[in-house]
């Protein structure tokens, strides 16, 4: 993990006018946003608002119907023909932490983290192992490196999955509701790990239901509603002083829960 705060605040990710439909249903209705180097963007919104789909459009797990995605110099205009290679190159700028961890179940914690380093980034096994151990240490799981996912708690699995993403040193790490499948008492461990990663200057986009966590970790917040960005700004602006009535209602409901 790079411990040095990014010196430039250039734009790392640009989404322009992203549309996505599932069958007849339009999930994303023209989303544009920019994320700067080292920024932590939290995407809020109610279930079905399209926030997870938006996240998955960034690393092309969902292919947008139209619009452009550009990450660190790799750009795809989805209105035009694009090849599998384009998608692969774009995706390799990113890493993702899934809601249900999705660790390779037939591999140990260490092997999970090594996999991308060795197979995708073509590092030698020794080098990959070294970097993977460091990433596991960063999330506090050094002594669990030989465990299989089934032998780890949900929180530990999710931290391995954060290490797996982190080790790749991607331009951005995408988090898809990283704590919503966890037992409540395990949430804080994972949130701490994410906060620690954020402090190292890694650019991150986090889809979350946890307003409190978003408030602490994010530098920018967007509120997605019915496939559009309804409000955007700093956490103070969007979470503490929302302007849109829809956002106000959402925030107040969650705060009083």
């Amino acid at each position: 993990m790079s411990t040095q705060k990014a010196s430039t605040n250039g734009i790392v990710i640009t989404l322009h006018d992203i549309h996505k439909t599932f069958g007849e249903h339009e999930i994303l209705k023209g989303i544009s946003l920019e994320v700067h180097q080292g920024e932590v963007l939290a995407i809020l919104g109610s279930s079905g608002s399209g926030k997870t789909t938006l996240l998955r459009c960034i690393n092309a797990l969902e292919i947008p119907a139209s619009g452009t995605v550009s990450i660190d110099g790799q750009k795809i205009d989805y209105s035009q023909k694009h090849s599998r290679q384009d998608v692969l190159h774009l995706r390799r700028k990113t890493a993702m932490v899934f809601q249900s961890y999705n660790l390779f179940r037939n591999k140990t914690a260490l092997q999970n983290v090594m996999e991308g380093l060795h197979v995708v980034q073509k590092k030698s096994r020794d080098e990959a192992r070294q970097e993977a151990r460091k990433a596991l240490a960063d999330v506090g799981l050094s002594e669990f490196e030989d465990r299989y996912p089934v032998q780890l708690s949900g929180g530990q699995q999710q931290r391995v999955s954060i290490a797996r993403a982190l080790a790749l040193k991607p331009s951005v790490i995408l988090f898809d509701e990283p704590t919503s499948a966890l037992d409540p008492e395990l949430v804080s461990d994972v949130n701490e790990a994410i906060t620690a990663v954020a402090k190292t200057g890694v650019t991150m986009i986090i889809v979350t239901h946890e307003i409190g966590f978003a408030r602490r970790v994010a530098s920018q917040v967007v509120f997605v509603d019915q496939g559009r960005i309804l409000e955007r700004g700093t956490p103070e602006e969007v979470i503490d002083h929302p302007k849109e009535p829809r956002v106000q209602a959402f925030i107040s409901k969650l705060s009083y829960k």
Binding site: N59, R91, G116, Y148, L168
Partner: protein
């Protein structure tokens, strides 16, 4: 009497073991490859190929294996004859291997398809998310996990195939049962049950070894499923 029969027939029966293993192994190897290809088509998007494979599979799954062996044994030379290739010199075992390979491929395909559909989609997405290309994801995530889910069903298939090598003698291919039958008819049926009994024991031992092999393999594949 039994010891006498044993002494005279056992060496000859054992000599046929490699042939039986050949009739088992070659179709199994071909079917693993062809069955995988069929499976890829069956879970893929290409409509024409999909229907071609579906018809192919339903023929081989919906007709008796022995009928297929006869059709290939009698039909293939005629087919080749039509394009002016003479395959009359081929040994009967070759036809048996071809028929069994085709038949087994269809069953392997369906077993693998079931396994593939059982792979957690999140595993495939995880592979994509760390930048695996299509082939990397296939060989590193999809194939091993499909195989793991399918291994017990594959074991059942393979044990059947090993036993069904005995059908080869119906088209005159020589293997354990074929040899046993020849000895029996040479002796006008004397010691028939003893000879068949010895053949059965040899089949049983081969199946037991195969079973052990598969058990070891599945145990190895499932090591990650154990909690301690």
């Amino acid at each position: 009497m039994p010891t006498h029969v044993l002494q005279s027939v056992l060496p000859g029966l054992l000599q046929q073991v490699p042939t039986t293993l050949l009739y088992w192994f070659v179709p199994s190897a071909i079917a693993l490859l062809l069955g995988t290809l069929l499976c890829i088509v069956r879970v893929g998007q290409h409509r024409v190929l999909y229907w071609a494979c579906t018809v192919f599979i339903s023929f081989f799954r919906g007709t008796p294996g022995i009928v297929q062996i006869y059709i290939i044994f009698f039909g293939l030379p005629k087919l080749f004859w039509a394009v002016h290739v003479d395959i009359d010199g081929w040994p009967a075992g070759a036809y048996f291997i071809i028929a069994t390979s085709l038949n087994l491929s269809c069953f392997v395909c369906e077993v693998l398809k079931g396994g593939y559909l059982g792979v957690d989609h999140g595993q495939i997405e995880a592979g994509k998310s760390i930048g695996f290309g299509r082939f990397q994801n296939f060989f590193r995530v999809i194939a091993p996990q499909t195989l793991q889910i399918s291994i017990l069903n594959l074991k059942n298939l393979e044990i059947d195939v090993l036993k069904d090598t005995s059908v080869a003698y119906t088209i005159g291919a020589m293997e354990i049962l074929g040899y046993a039958n020849r000895v029996i008819s040479n002796q006008f049926g004397v010691g028939q049950l003893w000879i068949l009994g010895v053949a059965a024991i040899i089949y049983f031992i081969l199946c037991a070894l195969l079973e052990l092999g598969f058990t070891a393999a599945s145990h190895h594949m499932e090591r990650h499923g154990r909690r301690s």
